[in-house]
């Protein structure tokens, strides 16, 4: 290898390592801080001589994690299956069936793709109050289904636009009706698309902060991220406990991502660019 080739390789690896370091250092700093003596103020990044693993247990009970996890799980179970099912049906129809006013409906949904949540939070608060749902998990679940819908329909429609028309024709010749064709043929073929969408929506619900903050007072009825916000308000001055708590709370998102990262990133790359 030539010297310049080697130099190029070293520079390349160096830049990449620097960027990777940038990505993990804040989390590492949180981790070492979480192990420091309770109540102390450690330096940004230093391995404690006497790591206090018990801090994680303390944070677990201080933040009422069992309740928080249970609440988040309920919210995710309320949001994800319903949204994915509705978005899949609508995406399929808009791509494969001749829906009356299909273009207009899709156009309306596309507007929602750019709408910031903050633009809707004020009326949502008053609407949910008049529905008597304020303070309940439904106040997070129902709006979230609507807010995630444009992206879901966009994503699934893009997938079904790529489906082979010959398959539909063949099913029709075999006497299958629209529902059977969808259920038996298109849905199984779209597994990678809707499962990636499910992971994406899991993260979006689990990590949702604004809706729980505004619509639910009781932190134990919020999402984990919403609860984390409340935890910060309460233990903001105890940096050790705060770091331990934050790490516990982000663990599920991290685990889900690492398990699904291969499919997830692949699907993200295909879906987003279509």
């Amino acid at each position: 290898m030539t010297t310049s080739g080697l130099a190029h390789r070293v520079t390349r690896t160096g830049i990449l390592l620097a960027l990777m370091l940038f990505a993990v250092v804040p989390l590492l700093s949180m981790f070492t801080t979480a192990l420091a003596a309770p109540g102390s103020t450690p330096q940004g990044l230093s391995w404690p001589s006497d790591p206090h693993w018990h801090n994680f247990v303390d944070a677990w009970s201080a933040a009422n994690f069992v309740a928080l996890f249970r609440s988040s799980t309920l919210i995710v179970l309320g949001v994800v299956p319903a949204t994915v099912a509705m978005a899949t049906a609508a995406g399929y129809a808009l791509a494969q069936l001749n829906v009356p006013f299909g273009k207009a409906i899709y156009g309306f949904l596309l507007i929602g793709l750019t709408l910031p949540f903050e633009a809707l939070i004020t009326p949502l608060y008053y609407d949910l109050r008049s529905m008597g749902l304020l303070g309940t998990r439904l106040a997070i679940v129902l709006p979230l289904i609507g807010l995630l819908m444009p992206f879901g329909v966009f994503w699934m429609r893009a997938h079904f636009l790529g489906a082979e028309p010959a398959i539909t024709e063949a099913a029709k010749v075999d006497g299958a009706n629209t529902w059977q064709t969808f259920r038996r043929i298109h849905l199984p073929l779209a597994t990678s698309a809707w499962s990636a969408l499910s992971v994406l929506f899991f993260l979006a619900s689990w990590n949702q902060y604004l809706l729980p903050l505004v619509l639910v007072d009781d932190p134990t009825k919020r999402t984990v991220a919403g609860g984390l916000g409340a935890f910060q308000g309460q233990y903001g001055t105890d940096i050790v406990l705060l770091c331990a708590g934050s790490l516990l709370i982000i663990l599920p998102s991290l685990v889900i991502f690492l398990i699904f990262q291969r499919n997830f990133v692949k699907a993200l790359m295909q879906g987003a660019v279509k």
Binding site: L19, V25, P26, S29, F108, L109, G112, L120, Q232
Partner: protein
């Protein structure tokens, strides 16, 4: 309408077929109805309400009084409202320009690697900040920027003691400091997406460029960049929306302070509605923000679609 089944099929085939087809066509609406229903009730309708509220003076409890265009005028005349919009555009530099630029660098570098453990690790590690709750990003970085945090620790280690400070409380540096959190969150997303785009570029184009004597830089501008048109459009759109509509990170890290130095429209809307009971003004700003995003995104979408 007559029941189609009562018409003898043999005598009236022409009349039967279109009506059955029409019925099937209308039943296709059922597939879209649940999705559009939820969207209508929880997105479209509240959006229209926001527009309506924006013309009223309302504290959220008592009666609303018509306010004409007052709330709208305030956006352009009240310094703290106008400033929040300006800050949102400053954040675009950090949420969009830097991550897309660095993402291009990272993606080009990863492309040259042999597929294997290092390239996968680089991709996954860079993407991790994107999957965490933004609240956690806010907390992690609040600690990084604090007086005892890592940023100051590193500065002391290299002898820059005199420049250390509580970064998020500093009037000059608070906004850029918040911006860097945006770079941290968005970099992985841009890298992964651009990497996918580079993978789709025909290798023949790279060979041709090399035969023409192009170096890595010329190759980048002549082959890579034009080939990434659509991915660049997606990255830019996604990150610009995240910048203009930022809330979580700012609310956790600075709550808009010190003073109004990091105030952004998202936080301002929240404060106006829920802390100051100024619903009309919050709504005007909300509608303005929505329109702003749309106006900025539109041309990028068109550019991405061309060809």
């Amino acid at each position: 309408m007559t029941d189609p089944s009562s018409v003898p099929a043999a005598r009236q085939p022409a009349a039967r077929r279109p009506s059955a087809r029409r019925r099937r066509r209308w039943s296709a609406l059922l597939w879209v109805a649940p999705a559009f229903g939820m969207y209508g009730v929880f997105v479209l309708f509240p959006m229209l309400q926001s527009v309506q509220y924006s013309f009223y003076d309302w504290d959220g409890i008592g009666p609303a009084t018509p306010a004409g265009l007052d709330n709208w005028k305030a956006i352009f005349t009240q310094p703290e409202l106008l400033q929040s919009v300006v800050h949102a555009f400053v954040l675009v530099l950090f949420y969009t320009v830097l991550p897309v630029g660095l993402g291009l660098v990272a993606a080009s570098l990863i492309r040259e690697l042999k597929p294997g453990a290092f390239s996968t690790t680089a991709r996954v590690v860079l993407f991790v900040p994107q999957v965490l709750p933004l609240v956690a990003a806010g907390i992690a970085w609040t600690w990084m920027y604090s007086s005892d945090g890592l940023v100051n620790q590193v500065m002391r280690a290299v002898g820059l003691d005199q420049y250390t400070r509580a970064w998020l409380g500093d009037f000059t540096f608070a906004l850029p400091a918040v911006g860097v959190i945006g770079v941290w969150v968005m970099l992985g997303f841009c890298t992964v997406l651009l990497l996918a785009g580079i993978g789709k570029i025909d290798p023949v184009l790279y060979e041709a460029a090399r035969l023409d004597g192009a170096g890595p830089v010329r190759e980048f501008f002549a082959v890579t960049l034009p080939g990434l048109r659509r991915e660049l459009a997606v990255c830019t759109t996604f990150t610009i929306i995240a910048a203009l509509a930022s809330f979580d990170v700012v609310q956790i890290a600075t709550q808009g302070g010190p003073g109004y130095q990091t105030m952004v429209p998202g936080v301002q809307i929240y404060r106006l509605t829920f802390l100051q009971q100024h619903v009309g003004q919050a709504s005007a700003l909300a509608v303005f923000l929505a329109v702003l995003v749309l106006v900025v995104i539109w041309p990028i979408q068109r550019l991405g679609r061309e060809k």
